[in-house]
Amino acid sequence: MSEPTFLVLTALAKEPMHGYAIMRTIRALSQGRTALPVGTLYGVLDRLVEEGLAERDREEIHQGRLRRYYRLTEDGYLALAEETRRLAANVRAATTALKARDLRPSPAGGAE
């Protein structure tokens, strides 16, 4: 699973969101490191909907513009859980390797 796909799934895991809210959430989740272009975001959403991991929720008109909300399906939650387990196992392995050299990951990124 690519990082943009993982981040979109993570953003949608909390609640149904429209495109801009997903972009804003991803920027916050990644502490500003990842800013998805709109073209990439909709490519990811297309794929998630095609694979049955997300679906359309509702539509609103906000300040004269269309907002379409998306939500995760049960399969989407399962896929996110599986990917999270995989990444967590990787993080554990890396943390163990770093500990052997007396390094530990800092909460702000990098190592101390």
Partner: protein, 354 residues
């Protein structure tokens, strides 16, 4: 509507109509809200442009939707055609390189060393170019076995010798027509590499490797035989000229290059597709497109030799180029008509797969 919105909507026109009818308003709203939030309001958006990152993302989305892997039947058929064109093109170019390098090695083996280097015009640069051009073979193998990224990198490497030759010709102050001739000779490779890049996007299915790898064996075998034939002809020409007097003049162009057998192979493949009609629309489009570089190359060859003194050899070159040109035009046009009929039957739906 701000200038930025106008420009973004213009950019979105690279997306297919069915996709825009579903997504355009949503994408515009998301894009403008994000830009306004970044800019602290709508001020300054009149003269702003979508960034390069956004342009690239929309172009990538256009490739994915216009050359779909599944879902929209028309887009999937065009996507399959582009992917077939890449595979066919890399297969033919692999054969050309295998034949070319075979003839070089055989010629080196059979010609006396004293003048083989001079006759074959071998320099350190041409050796390196011959080796680098071989990258198209592993590029084809990588693509056929589903290694898309490796195939893309290797295919780019395979373009380097042609680019170098064209550039070096310009630097040496030779007429621009010489560089153009080199580029015209590489049209098929450029087309295949372009199709590889745009057709095998992230969502594209990998090709079924077995049929393509199986096809490579006879094609490469024929290229090796042809390469050996060319080298032996060259050796006979230099050492036993009487022997080559028996070679009919129409066969002479076959003894000096690879574009003719490669071109005829494409024409025969087109005839098979037309005769069987079982391969579907994608094959028709792919063969119609694949005949284009053959047409360009043979038209160029014909133009060059038709203007020369009418010696038997130049007449033979012009005649062989004209024959292949006519055959490629006829088969390409027939494939295009078949493909257009097939595509018109695949109605583009108004909604995307989502």
């Amino acid at each position: 509507m701000t200038g930025l919105e106008r420009r973004y909507r213009l950019l979105l026109r690279v997306l297919p109509r069915w996709y825009r009818s579903e997504r355009e308003e949503e994408m515009v709203a998301t894009f403008l809200t994000d830009r306004a939030a970044s800019a602290g309001g709508n001020l300054g958006l009149e003269n702003a442009w979508p960034g390069w990152g956004e342009v690239w993302a929309v172009l990538t989305l256009a490739a994915r939707t216009r050359l779909a892997a599944k879902g929209v039947r028309r887009a999937a058929a065009i996507g399959d055609a582009v992917r077939l064109t890449a595979l066919l093109g890399l297969l033919v170019q692999s054969a050309v390189v295998v034949g070319s390098d075979t003839s070089l090695l055989v010629a080196l083996a059979v010609l006396p060393r004293s003048y083989s280097l001079e006759v074959l015009d071998l320099t350190a640069t041409s050796w390196v170019a011959s080796v680098v051009a071989m990258a198209v073979v592993p590029a084809f193998a990588a693509l056929a076995t589903g290694r898309r990224t490796a195939a893309r990198r290797l295919a780019l490497v395979a373009l380097l010798p042609g680019l170098y030759q064209a550039g070096a010709s310009l630097v040496r102050g030779e007429p621009v027509v010489e560089s153009l001739a080199i580029v015209a000779g590489q049209t098929a490779l450029w087309l295949a590499v372009a199709c590889l890049y745009i057709g095998f996007h992230r969502d594209a299915p990998p090709p079924r490797d077995r049929p393509w790898l199986r096809a490579f064996i006879p094609v490469a075998g024929a290229a090796v035989l042809h390469g050996v034939l060319i080298a032996l002809y060259l050796a006979a020409l230099l050492e036993r000229p009487w022997a080559v007097e028996f070679v009919p003049s129409w066969a002479l162009p076959l003894m000096t290059g690879y574009s003719l057998p490669a071109g005829w192979a494409v024409v025969v493949a087109g005839l098979v597709v037309l005769a069987t009609r079982r391969r579907g629309t994608a094959w028709g489009v792919a063969l119609a497109v694949t005949t284009l570089p053959v047409v360009v190359q043979q038209a160029w060859t014909f133009a060059v030799y038709a203007g020369k003194q009418p010696y038997p050899i130049t007449t033979a070159y012009a005649a062989s180029a004209a024959t292949l040109l006519a055959a490629a035009l006829a088969v390409g046009a027939a494939c295009a008509v078949t493909a257009a009929r097939g595509l018109s039957r695949l109605d583009a739906p108004l909604r995307p797969a989502t």
